[in-house]
């Protein structure tokens, strides 16, 4: 678990909103030693390949999106404050007084400005502050701010990673760096198992935007099948079991009309055979993950979906379980490992 945690915390120390995935430089460094082949494609996906030693092995694609939610600069006013719009996925309510990083000509730290309570009227404090009424304070006057920051620069949430109790961890962009960390670990362990597939690990771009990364990667790689690793809603005081999954009870195996039934059954069979804890997450169609983007590539790619339960998604205070991450690694490796007999289910 210590390995996984180190990967995760390192991956979350960098900022890479959708469209700027190349900024996640530590990812390349982490996977390079274990990959037979490593490349970044035109869409911004980072692809690490590990070939099977079994002749005629098919390709499997393991996908985890590497991008994170963010904001985008729309203007710099005469006082040097940054005006912004939602780039993807952030709810206005977490923004007041949040730390952010403006990905300008250099990384700039900033604070989302709020009026102090001393100046608020009672009625004000019941009103939601809308993103269009907020500005970001980067501490420079207009001239310097305009030199450093350009309209169109991206902005991300900023926070540090922390250990909580019972193997839970707290930080930003765990959606979906937690899954990236899982796949980094899977890749490093592939040397010690005999994969029955050529494994194409795709750290995909722009899932939080519209998923063009995973879609084009699936087109280029032409996999026989794909496992998508993402996060799902954790049960919390704000989310019950209708949509949420418990943390530390295993990763959630998706069941949905869009996902491949045989593959999903095979994954569940693998989990049972190896006593790996798992949960079932039922969806009624689209999954809200890259499975939706991969399934329709070329003539179709059978997909299965593993999701790590995560609380407070798309905030600077997301929580995941290291136990779930560890079990996801075990499950994926067990599924991929060659055990003789029929290669394909």
């Amino acid at each position: 678990m210590e390995n996984l945690k180190n990967y995760l915390f390192e991956l979350c120390s960098e900022y890479a909103p959708s469209g700027r995935e190349e900024l996640l430089t530590c990812l390349e460094r982490l996977v390079r030693p274990s990959a037979d082949k490593l490349y970044r494609d035109r869409a911004g996906n980072l692809v690490a390949v590990k070939y099977s030693k079994i002749p005629g092995a098919e390709k499997i694609m393991l996908d985890a999106h590497a991008d994170e939610v963010g904001l985008v600069v729309t203007g710099i006013d005469d006082n040097g404050f940054i005006h912004f719009a939602n780039h993807c996925g952030i709810d206005d309510k977490i923004l007041p007084s949040s730390y952010v990083t403006v990905l300008a000509s250099r990384n700039l730290t900033g604070v989302v400005a709020t009026l102090p309570p001393h100046l608020l009227k009672d009625a004000d404090s019941d009103k939601k502050i809308k993103a269009k009424d907020m500005v970001i304070d980067i501490g420079f006057d207009a001239k310097t701010a305009r030199e450093l920051v350009k309209v169109g620069d991206f902005i991300t949430l900023r926070s540090t990673c922390t250990d909580l109790q019972n193997g839970l961890v707290l930080g930003k962009s765990f959606d979906n760096r937690a899954s990236c960390a899982v796949l980094v670990r899977v890749l490093s362990m592939l040397c010690s198992v005999r994969p029955r597939y050529d494994v194409y690990i795709v750290f995909s771009a722009a899932e939080e935007f519209n998923g063009y990364g995973a879609h084009t990667a699936a087109y280029n790689i032409e996999p026989h099948s794909a496992i998508v690793v993402d996060t799902t809603f954790g049960i919390s005081p704000y989310t019950d079991s209708y949509k949420g999954k418990e943390l530390s009870k295993g990763c959630a195996v998706g069941i949905s009309p869009l996902l491949d039934t045989h593959m999903t059954e095979s994954i569940i069979g693998t989990a049972r055979a190896h006593s790996i804890p798992y949960q079932i997450e039922v969806m009624s169609g689209r999954t809200g993950t890259n499975a939706d983007n991969i399934v329709s590539a070329r003539d179709g790619v059978p997909c299965t979906l593993l999701s790590l339960p995560l609380r407070y998604m798309h905030s600077a205070g997301e929580i995941v379980s290291l136990h779930d991450m560890k079990n996801a690694v075990r499950l994926i490796l067990s599924y991929i490992e060659y055990r003789g007999g029929n290669r394909i289910e």
Binding site: D78, N79, F81, G89, I90, D91, K93, I94, P96, S97, S98, Y99, L108, T109, G110, V111, A113, T114, L115, P116, P117, H118, L119, L120, S125, D126, K127, K128, D133, M134, V135, D137, I138, G139, F140, D141, T144, S159, T160, T162, D163, L164, Q165, N166, L170, F233, S236, P237, Y238, T239, K243, G288, R311, Y312, M313, H314, S315, A316, G317, I319
Partner: protein, 339 residues
């Protein structure tokens, strides 16, 4: 980097739980002044100066900061809380916190935007509808780490950024604590008292008791005050501006300041070419209100550093303002000797 400010702001000390910051200040100043801690926890320090004092002068800054207090733990192990001091609940979602003496880390959660219905999007949650998550399995597990009544502080890192600005939690009023600490280490023009007070944010409780002990003729409160100089605030007053120098108040919701004392401070600033600004609103309040009406009363003055986003997880202030505030207080003290 302003190391002392970084250190002082890194410590947790919500109202009534000022132990850590009190120990830190005592550690800094006890070799420079006679110090004692009173029954409420105020530090009262006396330092000899070059000359006899013209009157009894008390400088003060409050040690406490706003925060939260644990009221209950749910069966599932989530923490419910109330706020200590004036906090805008809307700034709480998604912020990192530390709980109790052991500083157990946690986060104030919120619903994933994907799951929000329109009614969730448009409404603001009240404090009683927010929960802190420490990763506990259930109530019994949570109570191994925290207890009812534990105080809860914001976790945020100190950083200097932009054009000579600093962002940190608790700048209100660790800035004042830092300035007073520096002054105590200087050679002072005359004998004077310093008070580092408790419980300002819940009604200026400590300052009254400190003033009762010292019985000052003149009180100078060194504070952090509301800067609303943010750009979407055109229709309202900016109160004061970050980077425009120390802020001198003529009046706020708790005090009418002494006009002659204000004039003296302004003159001191002009003579030493220290920029200053008058606070342009009757808003907020500070320890002066208590000190002014304690015992037979004192002439009150407040000199403050302009801080944006007061009472949130992070404030923003100008390092130059902090420096100039210290210079202005020192210049004023010298001027008081000659009056």
């Amino acid at each position: 980097m302003n190391k002392l400010l970084s250190y002082y702001t890194s410590l947790f000390g919500t109202s009534g739980s000022e132990g850590d910051i009190r120990r830190a200040i005592l550690n800094e100043i006890s070799s420079y002044a006679d110090t004692k801690v009173d029954k409420l926890g105020n530090i009262i320090a006396f330092k000899k100066g070059k000359y006899e004092p013209p009157a009894t002068v008390m400088l003060s800054a409050h040690m406490d900061e706003v925060g939260m207090i644990l009221t209950d733990v749910t069966d599932q192990g989530y923490i419910r809380f109330d706020t200590i001091g004036g906090i805008d609940t809307r700034t709480l979602c998604g912020k990192h916190v530390a709980i109790g003496r052991r500083k157990i880390p946690g986060v104030i959660g919120q619903m994933a935007p994907h799951l929000m219905k329109k009614s969730d999007r448009d409404t603001v949650k009240k404090t009683e509808d927010l929960y802190i998550d420490i990763g506990a399995a259930d109530k019994e597990d949570a109570l191994k780490y925290v207890a009812q009544g534990d105080v809860i502080g914001f976790r945020s890192d100190y950083a200097e950024f932009g054009d000579g600005l600093v962002r940190a939690k608790a700048l209100d009023d660790r800035i004042g604590c830092q300035i007073l600490t520096n002054l105590i280490k200087e050679e002072l023009p005359f004998d004077m008292y310093f008070a580092f007070t408790v419980m300002e944010e819940i009604g200026c409780i400590g300052a009254g008791c400190a003033a009762f002990e010292i019985k000052p003729d003149y009180s100078i409160v060194v504070e952090a005050t509301t800067a609303a100089d943010i750009s979407d605030n055109k229709d309202k007053t900016s109160v004061c501006r970050v980077g425009s120098g120390p802020v001198i108040s003529f009046m706020d919701s708790s005090t009418i300041y002494d006009r002659d004392f204000i004039k003296l401070a302004c003159n001191a600033a002009r003579q030493r070419s220290i920029p200053y600004q008058m606070k342009q609103a009757v808003a907020g309040g500070n320890d002066s209100g208590r000190i002014q009406r304690t015992a037979s009363g004192a002439s009150a003055l407040a000199i403050s550093v302009a801080v944006r986003y007061l009472h949130t997880v992070t404030g923003v202030a100008s390092l130059k303002d902090i420096d100039n505030t210290e210079r202005l207080v020192f210049a004023l003290l010298n001027k008081m000797l000659n009056v």
